[in-house]
Structure formats: C-alpha cells, structure tokens
Amino acid sequence: MNAYSGRLLERWRSGDPHAFEEVVNCFHGPLLSYLISLLHHIQDAEDVAQDTFFRAHKSVHQLRDPAKLWEWLKRIAHNLAMDRAKNSRRSGFATDPSEIQTIAEEVQVSSPDAAEAPDETWSQLSLEVIVEAIEGLPEIYREVAVYHYLQEWPYGKIAQALGIEPAAARQRIRRANKLLRSVLMHRMLKRTSPT
C-alpha cells in the first residue's frame, strides 16, 4: 500500500477530488472490516467508516507522511468507533430485519445454487466470524483477505491497490486462503463439537 499511497496522498493534499474517491475505493474495505471487528454491528461500522473519510478529507493537510496514511485512517476510525460504542447500547451482531430479507432475495437471484443445503462445516459461518478471523491474520495477509473474500476483487486490482506485482498478489491470496480456512475450520469445529 505504501508506494501507491504516497502518490495518492500528494494528489489528495493538492485538492484533487478524484484522489479522495480513490482513497475511499482503496481503503474502505479494510477500514470497514476493522470497524466491524470493533463494533460488531455492520450498520454502525458503515456509519463510522463514512464519518472517518469525511473527517480525513477535512484534515488531510495535517498528514505529512504517506507511509502513515492507513494508520492515520485507522486512528480516526478507532476514535470515532469508541465514541459510537459509548453511545450505543447494542450488543451482538445485528442486521436490520428488512435488510436480511433483501439480502436473502439477492442471494436467490445472484447465486442460484445458494438455495442448496449448505455443507455442515460452514453452516455456522457468519460475517462477524469471518471478519474476526481476517482481522486476526498477519497484516500482510489481512488486506488481501479483505479484498479477496469480502470485496471479491480480482487479483489484478488487489495488486494495484497494494502496489505489488500480480504474481505476488496471487501468492498472498494462496497463503491467506490456507491461513483463513485453517482458522475458520478450527472455530467451526469448536462451535459444533459437543460440550
């Protein structure tokens, strides 16, 4: 991310509006994943992510070091998330009921075989579980996992976002897949094993 974010930051600081859109495009996935792991509520995470980018846009001139762009965004997000968590009495992971219906319909339309009975191993899988597993990965694989699994970006786009060669992106996807499946399998087995 650092090589690309250097040029991006300079354009953003100089007032290029397209640079802001690129920043959002590049960072909103990892930021959303981070916020879901903090807040355990997707709507809150989405709201805080939006607020984070607006606040960052207002104060981008304060950031000097492009290498710190991601950490800076995370810090803003973390502070906003803590304020949000203090003001919220929610617990657990929730989705608006009408949203569940819409998503269910979309799954029916876009994934005709999603109606098949899911394999037992993954029947307990949820977005929160995946996000927690991804956030527990080493950073080098965490970003790739967000882009590949949650945003479903092709590896060429992932390579561009990370400022690496496509072959390197493919290698990270392979490794992230092994790690993630191992972590998730372990969690799924813990959940389904008799107590």
Binding site: F20, E21, E99, E152, P154
Partner: protein
Amino acid sequence: MTCDEYQSEFPLYVGHQLLPEEDAEIIAHLQSCALCRQALEEERQFARAVHNVSLPFREASQNIQRSAQKAIRREPQVIPSHRLPESPRMRLAIWSVAAALALIAVVLLRHPGATEIDHVADWAIENYPLIDQTHALRGDPATVRAWFREHHQIDISPPVNVDYGKLVGCKMAEMGRDPAPLLRFNGRETSAVFILPARFAATFNAMGNRDISRDGFRIVVWAEGGNPYLKISRLM
C-alpha cells in the same frame, strides 16, 4: 506440480481468475486425482459460504463509496486556510470564480446527472459494435476471459455462478475501467444491458429512470438493487 500446489490454486480457480492454460492444467489433473477433486469441492463450498455471508459487507461497501461520491460533488475541494492567498483582491477574485462555478453547478443540478448520462450514452453507443462480436461467445468463463484479454487487453473476472448461456461479461469498474462491458445480450432484439460502475448508482437513484433516444439508439438508465444499469437498443 504436486497436489498441494494444484490445491493452492483452487481459490483463484473457483473464482475464475486463472489463465485458460492454467485452468486446462488443473482440469487435466482433476480427471485423474480423486483427492484433488474432493479438495476442490471443499473449496467451492467454502467460497460459496463466504460469498453468501459477506453480501452485507459489499452492500455496506457500496454505500460508503456512494456517500463519498455524493460528498465530493457537494464539496469537491477542501482548501486549507493556510493555502489561501493573503491579498484581499486575490481573495475576491477567487471567491468570484467560486461563486460563478457554484451558479453553473446549480444550473447543472436542475438536470441532475445530465453530463453523466451523456457520458455513459456515448460509451454505450461507441461500444455497441462490441456486442455484435461478443454475443457469439458461449461457454466457459475461461474462453470469455481469453477473448477479452486478446481483443481488448483487459482482464475481467466473471462472477461465480454465472450462467454463461445468458451472461458474457461483468463489471469492468472493478478493474478500474469506465464504465462496464456487456452484461446480457438479446440477439433477437439487438439490445444489450450493461451494469455500470457503482458510482453511477447515486446519480441514477436521484433522477429516477431516464429514457433517451440518440443516434439511432434508445438508451434507458436506471438503478436497481443498488446497482446502476444501462440498456441500449438499436431503433428499427
């Protein structure tokens, strides 16, 4: 390659992201290796489960991008105070230009999305001949990918679970291209439906369906399910 190496390619294989020759190599290996066939089926189940439960994430992701696009249209540039010129005359000149631009923006906003519609309409009309070429494409995703790579030097990622009897394209916006290639082609009506980059959804949502006729084509744009669509038909 060892079985371990083949299996490490399965995440990209089930996502249709490998080159045709890589696909062919895996397919050939699967014909003689029950272990890898089993591993592939497990990877498919995992990928399907992740895809289904992560839909809310992509919805939220689109919302964040749309909201940022709206915000940047309202306030495209943030000029830190320390960068404003000191001279009152220069400041007056700058604010006058800003006021004029704001006035132009108000005029444009009375026809929301007009320039964007023209932009996508231009693109659709220009790329219509592509439909006549791509509609003949059938079959597996690897063939379609290879065609786009050879003829247009772009690398598309067809979505999982695509019925290639009907769909021959996907969102190019994911690859940084603007707008998007063919989603569906109906040979009898000579019409085609494109799915556009997510950033157009905000404009289409705001102005509702638009239906224009230009240069021998009818173009309809609309937003549905959070996605912006364009349909182009040749006027007979």
